[in-house]
């Protein structure tokens, strides 16, 4: 099945480009501005967009994404509002892939079948469910096998060869490589070690590899782009939005986001 995600990676490859994937928490900093930011992300050069489904207990997130989730939930955000955001984005954009990323419980409470139906109806292209390892494939992943919805998995520095086979089985879209041992937006990866790890991965799979966790500056992005198919930025983007929003400089939010995305896209 050719999903928007694989089409995007095919085009990037054809143009010898590395993809830029951006992460934004749904409903952050508020519902309206969130939609505006998503539009700016795609216009400024983000090739794929991850929308975070806020959760009260985001175990893999560092302080910045935690805070963004909390702000969103404190504003009364719900799964329905996440879908509403995507629906509005899709009214104007039918090419940029949208990936929903988050934790299993809000999906489970929404109802797995119901959730997948909504994803298809509203034009979601992929799912990343942080706390749903292959051991629990029968719950959600298996429901996505024959439909236009990629199930994107994470590989990490702790993933050995045996485990990698389990992770790759039923993986689709791309493989998300977590560049550090830790949570989002904290440590920076050691680029030499990272390069070795990605080269090793490439020998095991043809699926595109996106690298994330701990990437924030153009110089890092540039170096990582030399050996990966995409880079993911999340915390650093959220941090920039947070700073301007909390200083009541809402007008600067969109322009800084645009500038930042362009600065990354220009070097990868």
């Amino acid at each position: 099945m050719v999903t928007r995600i694989s089409k995007t990676f095919d085009e990037l490859k054809l143009n010898s480009q590395t993809g830029l994937i951006t992460y934004l928490t749904a409903g952050f900093p508020n519902q309206e501005l969130c939609l505006d930011i998503i539009n700016v992300l795609s216009r400024s050069g983000s090739d794929l967009i991850e929308i975070g489904m806020p959760f009260s207990d985001p175990m893999a997130e560092g302080p910045i994404i935690q805070q963004s989730s909390k702000m969103s939930l404190d504003n009364g955000h719900t799964m329905e509002l996440t879908f509403d955001l995507i629906k509005k984005f899709r009214n104007k954009n039918i090419t940029t892939p949208i990936i929903l990323m988050g934790y299993y419980n809000p999906i489970y409470q929404y109802g797995n079948d119901n959730f997948i139906k909504r994803c298809l109806d509203y034009g979601v292209d992929g799912l990343i469910v942080v706390d749903l390892p292959p051991e629990h494939d029968s719950e959600l992943c298996d429901l996505t096998i024959d439909i236009d919805l990629d199930f994107i998995r994470l590989a990490t520095p702790t993933t050995d060869k045996k485990r990698l086979n389990i992770v790759l089985n039923k993986s689709s879209g791309f493989l998300y490589y977590v560049s550090i041992m830790g949570i989002t937006g904290t440590k920076e990866p050691n680029l030499d070690i990272l390069k070795e790890q990605i080269i090793k991965l490439k020998k095991e799979t043809d699926i595109p590899i996106g690298v994330g966790f701990g990437i924030k500056r153009p110089d890092q992005a540039q170096k990582i782009s030399e050996f990966s198919d995409a880079i993911v930025v999340g915390s650093s983007l959220i941090e920039k939005i947070m700073k301007n929003y909390q200083n009541n400089k809402e007008d600067l939010v969109l322009s800084e986001v645009s500038e930042y995305i362009k600065s990354l896209k220009a070097v990868i």
């Binding site: 009260s56 809000p106 942080v130 706390d131 702790t158 041992m181 904290t186």
Partner: protein
């Protein structure tokens, strides 16, 4: 699972029916699998059991007595009440049973940095204690609110060489402390062992903690047969995550014995200020397992409330969720004021100051005993002593300590 036994769970994937499992980030999966293997190897090593028994006897002070609470029995004018006195253990609660088991496992796995979450601080103290004994680095995550209401345990942990990390993410309570501990673990998997304090979390923790706590029920069974020559009619224990209850219940699951797990009803079950996950929650996924949780319709986890910092977790161990749905164990609840009343009466009639956690169990015993015949027997797990709660209770009663 065969219908003729309630003791066969979990299955090989760590499921107790719908509950349990391994819902963790990929970074942790290899470690969880390694832990499962290490635990199963340990179980097959007679030296492991021998070492636990040795520490249980000489360090914890087991076995703990089974004590006939004669004055409380005559006060209530009903069934005979026995206390399983795990409050007499070293460190003052049942938590140490599990900590000795897990620290010996950490040693086998060559992990020398131990992390843990704590709510009331009893688990934190027990972890810091075994870390001191084995010479391991100890990092305890504790919610800011809990640090304020459990000052003496905080000081003990520091005295024992543990480092306390205050958690103010989320709402700064036990569930947030558990999130932070998981985040630490992801960042330090190579040398770190996460010593979970209750029978919850990803497989194999719920099983492992249950096994290490089952010594409570095994002893109680032997002791009651020696004293009364019959099995008890009822077992009662309080439930936060549920490790002390499971420890008492598990060895009796296939016997003709009624069981009551007592959740915290806080200010009452009609509002949101309680921690009764089974009575008022629904199945969901948090902290590595599927179980009953207090949550809103959108799957966001709510905070639990209880006067007892050890019971206000918004979830419960997965095996309890399963036993609840099987109808094998009755889950009931006691409110803050009922627990305080039981706390005072137990102190006055038996000369034993119980922790606020087992005071919830006692409060239910007060109701249950009266409905039973005088020749019937109740065993209640007195899983912790009340020293740590003196200030809380004094505040409630309006007394300056």
């Amino acid at each position: 699972m065969k219908k003729n036994s309630y003791k066969l769970g979990p299955d090989s994937d760590g499921n107790f029916g719908l509950f349990g499992g391994r819902y963790v980030a990929e970074t942790l999966m290899p470690l969880i699998i390694e832990l499962e293997k290490a635990y199963s190897d340990a179980l097959n090593d007679p030296n492991f059991r021998k070492e636990i028994n040795q520490f249980s006897k000489d360090y914890i002070g087991r076995e703990s007595p089974l004590y006939f609470a004669e004055r409380l029995t005559s006060y209530l004018k009903g069934a005979k009440i026995y206390f399983k006195r795990d409050e007499l253990n070293h460190t003052g609660s049942h938590k140490i049973n599990n900590c000795i088991g897990q620290i010996l496992l950490a040693k086998r796995m060559n992990k020398n940095r131990i992390i843990a979450e704590t709510g009331a601080g009893q688990h934190g103290v027990a972890v810091a204690t075994v870390c001191a004994r084995f010479g391991y680095e100890c990092v305890i995550y504790m919610g800011k609110k809990d640090i304020e209401r459990q000052k003496s345990n905080v000081f003990k942990i520091k005295l024992l060489g543990g480092k306390i990390v205050p958690v103010d993410s989320g709402n700064g309570t036990l569930k947030d402390a558990m999130n932070e501990a998981l985040r630490d673990w992801v960042a330090n998997v190579e040398n770190t062992y996460y010593l979970i304090g209750t029978a919850a979390g990803p497989h194999p923790y719920p099983t492992m903690v249950r096994d290490f706590q089952s010594v409570i029920g095994e002893e109680a069974k032997k002791q009651i047969l020696e004293k009364e020559n019959v099995l008890p009619d009822a077992l009662v224990a309080c439930i936060g995550g549920g490790s002390n209850a499971l420890g008492l219940f598990y060895p009796f699951l296939d016997d003709d014995v009624d069981m009551y797990g007592v959740e915290a009803a806080g200010l009452g079950l009609s509002g949101n200020d309680h921690a009764a996950s089974l009575a008022k929650g629904s199945p969901g996924v948090l902290h590595g397992n599927r179980t009953y949780l207090l949550q809103n319709t959108d799957g966001q986890i709510r905070e639990g409330h209880s006067i007892s910092a050890g019971l206000d977790y918004p979830g419960i161990g997965p095996e309890h969720s399963w036993l609840n749905d099987q109808g094998r164990v009755n889950y009931v609840s006691s409110a803050d004021d009922e627990a305080l009343n039981a706390f005072e009466i137990c102190s006055k009639y038996e000369g034993i100051i119980p922790a606020l956690e087992p005071s919830h169990a006692l409060a239910f015993v007060f109701k249950l005993a009266k409905k039973m015949k005088k020749d019937q027997i109740i065993i209640v797990n007195l899983c912790g002593r009340g020293d740590k709660d003196i200030e809380t209770v004094a505040n409630y009663l309006g007394v300056d300590v």
